[in-house]
Structures are given as structure tokens and as C-alpha cells.
Symmetry: C2
């Protein structure tokens, strides 16, 4: 996977399904790229032999990418904040660390902006996953089923809640049913939230015959949309069904759909709607 | 419990421990009061024979309170939004319902403000529980243990999150550890959130030897503080300990401590701090 041309692409892969999807799409189009992963966060990319890097040696890693002809970088998949081994830090990376650690104090969004800044100052453009695979991020419209008027109101309320949360750099999701907020996403993520709603939410809806509720996902208002977009997949649909929800809505253009066909099939089988909602939609 | 004087007090009791505490304090001081409960939401007040009312007949209930000499009302304890039986609504209550149902569409805070408005227009002053029992709501200070600097930062971050949530009329609590938001309170409440942190949160703290995290509670910024203040009790302390937290912080003057001595004993036994935090505290 080396030998990239001088506008070469690197896929810096974390955990989850997205890196494998992107690598597969690039391979299918016979586009060369460099695959890299952070030590401790193995990327699930079948058959690939990734470059491994450590945050403690970020500066030489960036130089290595440049030497391989890389000029564009996609940061895809999840990583957690790594613990640093001070004895492994080289001098060039040490010079970068004060900015990184200061940003980490200020939250996830600031950390990602700082990381993007470090790449770009070296001449490495950071591009979003949809630059590689545009169909990952659906535009506005219904992908499956149709929300009722009550579902649309629940989606609008959930969108307001997610926006308020994003302003304090928390979560990218919420569940609302009949106007009531059943759950708010925090560090454990969407799947954990939906499992919790499945376990606790049934008795909380005031009208048992009323609206069943909506999972809503959106990027945080302040986040850089080239990285860390929220993602949905067929597993999210299955969990939303188990949580007794009417469907899933998300900010059109701001959420990655991993395996859209699989999501639609799962939603149609379970009778859920899937709605890429125009954020300007008043209700 | 009838025969109240003409500035008589009514305790409108929902579920939970608060009504029984207030009734006990009033009885201990030999202060007469009228006890009332909403049908379907039995108040745990030992030995008392409450008036029962239905939302469908709210107007005659308010007239009944006035006829009994009641002029001040405490709304204490929890209720859920009731389902209405249209055939049971009397004409005077029917005239009030459009305002109530409109408020219910706008959320919990609006609903409570509307309810308070209905009482006050009839000449019934709504007072807070601390008007009956001032020691329920501690002022700023430490009640047990002492937060570290990291705990204070976690409390400050959690306070910002709770304030952002309150602006969209959601929850009154959050759990933050090492700057990361482990959980956000929604409809299921504080206990459910803490149980969830106990089940999921251990592996989420980046530094296993670092700050263990803080539960923070505060009223919503827009809420009327005479009703629906968040409450803590010894059970909250026990759950926070099981969730592996360092302690509990809350907005001084804005949170009810049910059984303060029991909370302090539980916190000291478990090594947790209890901190009524000045909301102006920068960190």
C-alpha cells in the first residue's frame, strides 16, 4: 500500500467499521493509499499491513507520511485518549505536546481541532470520509418508512437537546418520546444509550399507545466536520427497534451511514423509519 | 388535619420521602395543615388521611382548599403527568385545561409554572418546602470529606453541562470524571443514572488511578424554585459509592437534602465528599 503519488492519501484508522469501508472502496477503485493505525487501537481492515504510530512519536510519523508522498489524510474510526509514556517522546514531538495537552484539557472538539492543526501545518490536508466515499453521508430525505407528526415533533425536540449538549462538548445523540427526554448520550455512546432505553424506557412513556420515540443524532455545533462525525449502522437500527422506538432521525449531511442498504433492510424489517432530517426543518 | 386557620397550609404530596418529612416536621411543631394527594400518586405519610383530588376536578379541589382556610400550599414529592378522563372533567376545570395542556406541550418547567399560576390566581400562595423546613436546603459548604482540585474541576464541568441541559428543560444532573461526561440525567432520574455508571463507567475513566468522578445536581436555570427542586438522600450517596465516584456536589441553596445526617453518615462510611457548591465558584 505504499508508493502513493505526490497527492497521495493516507487513511489513519481507528477502531470500528468505517476504516474497513473506506479501505475497501479505495481498493475497489484501485486508488493507492497509505494505511496507518495508532498503537493500541487496531484497525479492522482485512488483509492490510498498516503503519503503526504512537502519539509520543507523532512528529516523525508525520514526516514519514510526507516522505511517502502523502498530502491528504482521512482520520476515520474511533480512538480513546491515549496514555503517554514520557520516555518515548522524541524532541520534535515534545515541541508539539503543550498544544495537544492544553487542547485535551478543553475537551474532545478542541483536541481534534489541535490534531488537525498539527497535520495541516506540516502540509497534510485533512479531508472527511465522505471525500473518499460520498454516499456515506446521505442528504435530506427519508430512507425508510415515514415519521408521524408526533415523531417529527420528537425529532425536533431531540435536535434541540443535542444542540444544547453539543455546546458543552457532550454527546451527539438523545432519545425523545412524546416530548419527554428518555436518554441523553454521554461517553458510553449510542449503543449503550439504546440498550439502556430498552431496559428502562418502556414504562416512562406517558401514553402507552402514543408516539414510541425517536433516536436523533447530529454532530456537535462546534465540531470540525472532517472528523468524528456520528455514525449509524444496521446494529443501531436493531438496537433502536429493541428500545421500542418509532425510528431514527439525524442531521442530513452530518451523520455517516455505515452500510446504508443494511440499515434500510433492518429498518423495513422492524418497521422503523430512517430520516435524514434537514436541520432547518422547524418540526 | 382539618380546622386549619385562615392562613392555613396545605401540603400537596406526591410520591417519595419529602412529603413525609414535611408532615412529620409540621406535626412535631403542632402546626395544623391539610394533606392532599393526587389520585394514583399515593403519598407516603404515615397515619395521615389525605384529601384525594383528580386533575379533572382541579377547580373544585382548589375551592375546597380555600373553604378549609388554606392560603399557602407546598407542592412536595414527585408525580408523573396524569392521563385525563374527559368524562370526569367538571366545567370549571375544563376552563382551566387549555392553559395546562398548552403548558404541558412546552415541557415540565412550563407545566409547573402553569400549575403554580392556577393556584395563585385562586388566592393560594405556593411556597417552597424549605419554607416549612429550612434545614432541607443547605447553604454553601462541605458536609463531608473534601474534594480534590481534580474533583473541583469535574464538579465545575458537570455544573456547565447541567446548566446547558436545563436550558432545554432536561434533567438536573450529570456525572463527570477526569473532565469526561460519563452520564447525563434524563427522565429515568438520578438513581437510574448512577446505577448505569456503576454498570458501565469503570472502564471509561482514562486514568484508572485518577479522579473518580463527581455527581453534580442543580435546579434547571429556568425553573421555579418553589417546586421540583432536585433532591439527594442517603440512597443517592450509597449509589454514588457503588458507581465508584469521589463524591457528590450540588448547587448550594438549590437542592433538597432528605435526611442530611443519614447522608453524612453514609458519605463518611464510604469515603465520599458532600459539597454544597457555591454556583459562583469558578472551579
Amino acid at each position: 500500500m505504499s508508493g502513493a503519488p505526490s497527492d497521495g492519501l493516507a487513511l489513519i484508522a481507528g477502531t470500528g467499521a468505517l476504516p474497513g469501508l473506506l479501505a475497501g472502496a479505495l481498493a475497489a477503485r484501485a486508488e493507492p493509499f497509505v494505511l496507518a493505525e495508532m498503537e493500541g487501537f487496531p484497525a479492522a481492515v482485512p488483509g492490510a499491513e498498516p503503519l503503526r504510530f504512537r502519539v509520543e512519536r507523532l512528529a516523525p510519523f508525520l514526516d514519514d507520511l510526507l516522505a511517502r508522498g502523502v498530502r491528504r489524510v482521512v482520520l476515520a474510526g474511533a480512538i480513546r485518549r491515549p496514555r503517554l509514556d514520557p520516555s518515548a517522546i522524541d524532541p520534535a514531538t515534545a515541541a508539539l505536546l503543550p498544544r495537544l495537552t492544553a487542547a485535551m484539557q478543553a475537551g474532545d472538539d478542541a483536541t481534534l481541532r489541535a490534531v488537525i492543526g498539527l497535520f495541516e501545518e506540516r502540509g497534510l490536508a485533512v479531508v472527511g470520509a465522505e471525500a473518499v466515499l460520498p454516499e456515506l453521508v446521505p442528504g435530506a430525505g427519508l430512507l425508510a418508512g415515514a415519521p408521524t407528526g408526533a415523531d417529527r415533533k420528537d425529532a425536533a425536540r431531540a435536535a434541540a437537546i443535542v444542540a444544547a449538549l453539543g455546546s458543552v462538548d457532550v454527546g451527539q445523540g438523545a432519545v425523545v418520546a412524546q416530548g419527554l427526554c428518555l436518554a441523553v448520550e454521554a461517553l458510553p455512546g449510542t449503543d449503550a444509550m439504546l440498550d439502556w432505553v430498552a431496559a428502562t424506557g418502556a414504562g416512562l412513556r406517558p401514553d402507552p399507545a402514543g408516539a414510541k420515540g425517536v433516536l436523533y443524532k447530529a454532530p456537535k455545533p462546534g465540531q470540525d466536520r472532517r472528523v468524528d462525525l456520528p455514525a449509524l449502522g444496521p446494529g443501531t437500527v436493531a438496537r433502536a427497534a429493541r428500545a421500542g422506538l418509532a425510528g431514527i432521525a439525524w442531521e442530513a449531511g452530518g451523520v455517516i451511514c455505515l452500510d446504508r442498504a443494511g440499515m434500510v433492510a433492518a429498518a423495513e424489517a422492524a418497521g422503523l423509519f430512517l430520516w435524514a432530517r434537514d436541520p432547518g426543518d422547524a418540526r
